[in-house]
């Protein structure tokens, strides 16, 4: 029997907050459950500018996607896409170039089910339930094969994602695996928690999240994060604070500098 749904599903447990739904809450969405909102409120308490951080990361996404579309990329793989509501990849990309094709990947079954509902009728966007730590399950998935042409440049987005991979799981090897799968001319966008900021709220919030069954976010240094791009050539202005990467307007940067410095972000191009 051919069955592309052979994966064993992660349990659907709405008594545990989900990162995807938390992120939506932080963006002001209502695609979340009470347990997510309670956790969100706790995090906001520990980290008063948490909403700004989510918003700025989403702004980074918009700039990165527009940059890639301007560079000629017409296909995107967004790993850790969460709930694709406001200003997501297919909206941004297809607004500029309607022929753009997008595959979203998330681990949360509810986020995936939601994405399927949202994307029903969009034959150039699809969603896949998979774990980023299993790159072959993503790269060989039916949705990816159907929508993405690996002979043409692909825009790979991993925003606020790689810091969930513990160092013992070798995130550099993992990213190398992804980079090698991409054809020349492809782009990779990463935002990742930094370890050289003074925002203690972020650390308190990360600890809190890990205590309720979530995973521990790992802060990393600039060099360590740069190594995720490997041989990819970083486009201007290189690896910088995520708020400052090609920022162009008021919403891109927070008024609170401690929010702007919590993460690094950049876009690299495969030679």
């Amino acid at each position: 029997m051919t069955d592309d749904r052979n994966w064993v599903p992660q349990s659907v447990d709405v008594s545990v907050p989900s990162p995807a739904r938390l992120y939506d809450y932080m963006l002001g969405g209502a695609h979340n459950f009470a347990v997510d909102r309670q956790m969100g409120a706790k995090i906001e308490h520990l980290m008063p500018h948490a909403r700004s951080a989510a918003r700025i990361n989403r702004k980074f996404l918009g700039r990165a996607v527009r940059f890639m579309v301007d560079a000629g990329v017409r296909q995107f793989l967004d790993i850790g896409s969460g709930i694709p509501t406001v200003a997501n990849v297919h909206e941004v990309a297809q607004a500029v170039a309607p022929e753009c094709r997008v595959v979203y990947v998330d681990r949360d079954p509810v986020a995936v089910a939601h994405s399927e509902l949202i994307l029903a009728g969009n034959d150039r966007a699809a969603v896949l339930q998979a774990d980023m730590r299993d790159p072959d399950s993503i790269l060989n998935a039916g949705e990816v094969g159907r929508l993405l042409d690996f002979d043409q440049p692909i825009g790979l987005l991993m925003l606020f994602m790689v810091h969930w991979v513990p160092t013992e799981d070798d995130p550099w090897g993992l990213m190398k695996h992804y980079r090698e799968a991409l054809p020349s001319g492809s782009y990779l966008a990463i935002t990742h928690l930094a370890n050289d900021h003074d925002n203690e709220g972020v650390r308190a919030a990360a600890t809190r999240l890990s205590q309720v069954g979530g995973e521990q976010a790992i802060e990393r240094g600039k060099d360590e994060i740069a190594a995720f791009f490997g041989e990819f050539e970083l486009v201007e202005p290189g690896l910088v604070r995520y708020a400052e990467w090609r920022s162009s307007g008021p919403g891109d940067i927070s008024d609170d500098p401690t929010v702007n410095e919590i993460a690094y972000g950049s876009v690299g191009r495969k030679p």
Binding site: V8, G28, H31, F33, V86, A113, H114, G249
Partner: protein, 701 residues
């Protein structure tokens, strides 16, 4: 609605106004972008908000001033993105101060009231739209959750595991209770609520856990569930904890049905928190879906069918397929149950793929039966094309545990049923034609015809009466002459059945045979006919009244009967009729079956005269003449009536094989003459003598 005093025209220069508005709009845009996630760049948002500000200012100048339009503007604003509380707060701050600072709204005291009213209306409209958006998002999330649960369930192998998925994630107590009211399983939350270890609760009658005086109410409710009077009952209850304390809880009980729709067990949810509504939704889904395939079950299908029948598009209508997996029993017997389950899942998946282009609902009606409801559209393929695509696809072997299994399905199809029909009638009709399609064949389909169905039903009713009628002596044996065409003399006698139905018209031989053949009654009834007729024939012969051969025609069923030879020999021995005074015929289509041809030869060896019935233009008909010891062939009435020249040219070939030709169903002198000229030897039919009882037959000859 308050209507502030009319405001005199005292407009400042338009350029100043425009500049001031632009500045205000930019401030507003900047503040919003720094506060909330809006899917727009700052330039676009500047332009957007500038337009909205112009519109708002125009509303403030409008005479008379009304707040309704401002409220609408507030609602429109909410649709920009997830502005939420923060977006409203920032908007109110920017505009509340900024509007009153615009040169066009000077002096302030003239406009203050309008601006305040406008800000209130803007907030009200915004909040209403925002609330609606939140509710919509929440509803989408609920649907996503259910979808996620369902998607997950489809992929788990064991139905137990599927159920556990929902149950264990619940903070409510969930009890699986058998139909006698004993707890089969509970989840951990139940143990927490009642203070028992999970295993202590197994086998405990549920009612024993209920506080005195409250058990009867629950008992009655569960009885109602079994009766089907209600789908779900929810009641405030008191349960006794292990430590003797009484806990006040809400119990919600529903009845889960198995794939065959029969009550399987109760599910009782002990409410402890907020997830009840969610869980109930899931339970309802499970009660309407088959756990193995994830498809809707018969109950759900019936409901959907009812809706579809009512709303059927008058041009194209709906089509209902009742599909049945051929030879599924062999799969079940040949392999373990898991293989059969996987095969069902495979068929489910293929049906879903094949029908993906149609507005179709696929359901598992039970066992190996599926229901398909298609709401036809202009592009919907014909039924034949759909069935062919299904069977072509399923004939590709599916690999289940390393075994390649190919399947085929048969179908009963009801196309565009009368919209007044009840769903149960439609399903019944589909099932009836399915039975017809399956008769001895595989991979076939049959379309329902209203008239045909009514007749089939009448026939079935009559067939069911038949054994009783036979016992009561309503069925008798009659005799009709077999006439030699050459000289008009009687060359034999055929024994036939005749059923005098009280209160209804008599049924002739052919009809009797068909009915008896359908029910299997033909084996005893046919043997009886043979014995009675052989006895009669022997009696005539003993008394020297009539000594021509007796003809008894066998049906297909009789021809394939393993005991045929012993039944014939038994009849001859019992009656003393010499074997060469009996002629039996078998229908040509029966000869390839089982031992029919062998038995035919054996009958010839013991001296019985053998004949092939329904002899005509079949591909092997002539071949049998050289392969089997045939004395005569019987030409069926339709061929006799047609006076078909193509057959007539075969007459010499038949004669060459030493076989005599008897034409059946001769109704007119004309037919008799034509066949005489073509060389037929014998004839039977209304023109030559109707069936009579033994006494009248003898008198007549």
């Amino acid at each position: 609605m308050p209507n502030p005093s009319r405001i005199p025209d005292a407009s400042p220069p338009p350029d100043d106004n425009a500049r001031a508005r632009l500045t205000l709009a930019r401030t507003w845009s900047y503040r919003l972008l720094s506060t909330v996630a809006i899917p727009m760049g700052s330039k676009d948002l500047d332009v957007e908000l500038s337009g909205r500000l112009d519109a708002l200012c125009a509303m403030l100048h409008e005479e008379p001033f009304t707040t309704a339009v401002v409220e609408q503007a507030g609602a429109d604003l909410a649709r920009l993105g997830h502005l939420g509380r923060d977006g409203l707060k920032c908007t109110a701050e920017v505009l509340g101060k900024g509007l009153l600072a615009l040169p066009e709204f000077q002096p302030v005291e003239r406009y203050a009231e309008r601006v305040v009213l406008a800000m209130g209306a803007l907030g009200a409209g915004f909040t209403a739209a925002n609330t609606e958006s939140v509710l919509t998002q929440q509803e989408v999330m609920q649907r996503s959750l259910l979808k996620a649960v369902r998607d997950a369930n489809w992929n788990l192998r064991e139905s137990e595991a599927r159920f556990n998925e929902v149950v264990t994630s619940s903070t409510n107590g969930v009890l699986i209770v058998d139909l006698e009211g004993r707890l089969l399983r509970t989840n951990a939350a139940t143990g927490d609520i009642l203070g028992y270890a999970q295993e202590e609760l197994v086998g405990v009658p549920l009612l024993d856990l209920i506080a005195p005086g409250f058990a009867e109410m629950l008992h009655n409710a569960m009885a109602e569930l079994v009766d089907g009077a209600v789908e779900r009952v929810s009641q405030s209850q008191r349960m006794v904890r292990k430590d003797g304390e009484v806990a006040q809880l809400t119990l919600t009980a529903s009845l889960l049905r198995g794939a065959d729709d029969a009550p399987a067990h109760f599910v009782v949810v002990v409410e402890d928190g907020t997830e009840l509504a969610l869980l109930q939704g899931e339970l309802k889904r499970q009660s309407l879906h088959d756990v193995l395939t994830g498809l809707p079950n018969r109950q759900f299908f019936t409901t959907q069918l009812e809706i579809a029948l009512r709303n059927a598009d008058s041009e194209h209508g709906v089509t209902i397929f009742h599909l049945d997996l051929d030879a599924f029993g062999m799969v079940c017997n040949g392999f373990d149950g898991r293989v059969a389950e996987r095969l069902l899942q495979h068929v489910t998946q293929r049906l879903e793929v094949l029908l993906a282009g149609e507005k179709a609902m696929i359901a598992r009606l039970g066992g190996d039966e599926f229901g398909v409801l298609i709401e036809n559209a202009a592009a919907t393929p014909s039924i034949g094309v759909i069935m062919k695509s299904i069977n072509d696809d399923l004939l590709e072997p599916a690999y289940v545990d390393g075994r390649g299994l190919a399947a085929s399905v048969s179908a009963g199809v009801v196309h565009r049923p009368d919209p007044d029909w009840e769903p149960s009638e439609v399903l019944r009709a589909a099932e009836r034609v399915l039975r017809k399609a399956k008769k001895g064949r595989r991979g076939q389909w049959e379309l329902f015809h209203a008239g045909q169905d009514a007749e089939d039903r009448r026939n079935d009713a009559v067939a069911v009466e038949m054994p009783g009628a036979w016992e009561n002596g309503e069925i008798v044996v009659r005799y009709r002459p077999v006439v030699r065409l050459g000289d008009g003399e009687i060359g034999g006698v055929e024994a036939v059945l005749h059923w005098d139905r009280p209160g209804a018209g008599p049924l002739e031989h052919d009809v009797c045979l068909e009915l008896a053949e359908a029910t299997g009654l033909i084996l005893p009834l046919g043997e009886w006919l043979l014995r009675v007729a052989a006895g009669q024939s022997a009696w005539w012969r003993q008394r020297g009244q009539f000594d021509q051969p007796l003809v008894v025609r066998l049906t297909a069923h009789q021809s394939a009967d393993a005991d045929l030879v012993s039944r014939v020999v038994g009849a001859l021995e019992e009656t003393g009729l010499p074997s060469d005074r009996l002629m039996v015929s078998m229908p040509s289509r029966a000869l390839p079956m089982a031992d029919a041809a062998d038995d035919f030869t054996v009958l010839d060896r013991i001296g019985v005269l053998t004949a092939i019935d329904d002899f005509g233009l079949g591909p092997r008909d002539l071949a049998w003449l050289s392969e089997l010891p045939v004395r005569s062939v019987l030409v069926p009435p339709d061929l006799t009536r047609s006076q078909d020249a193509r057959f007539a040219v075969l007459v010499p070939a038949v004669h060459e094989s030493g076989v005599r030709i008897c034409v059946d169903g001769v109704e007119t002198a004309d037919q008799a003459k034509w066949w005489t000229e073509e060389g037929a030897d014998l004839a039977i039919g209304a023109h030559l003598g109707a069936p009579l009882d033994a006494g009248d037959f003898l008198k007549k000859i």
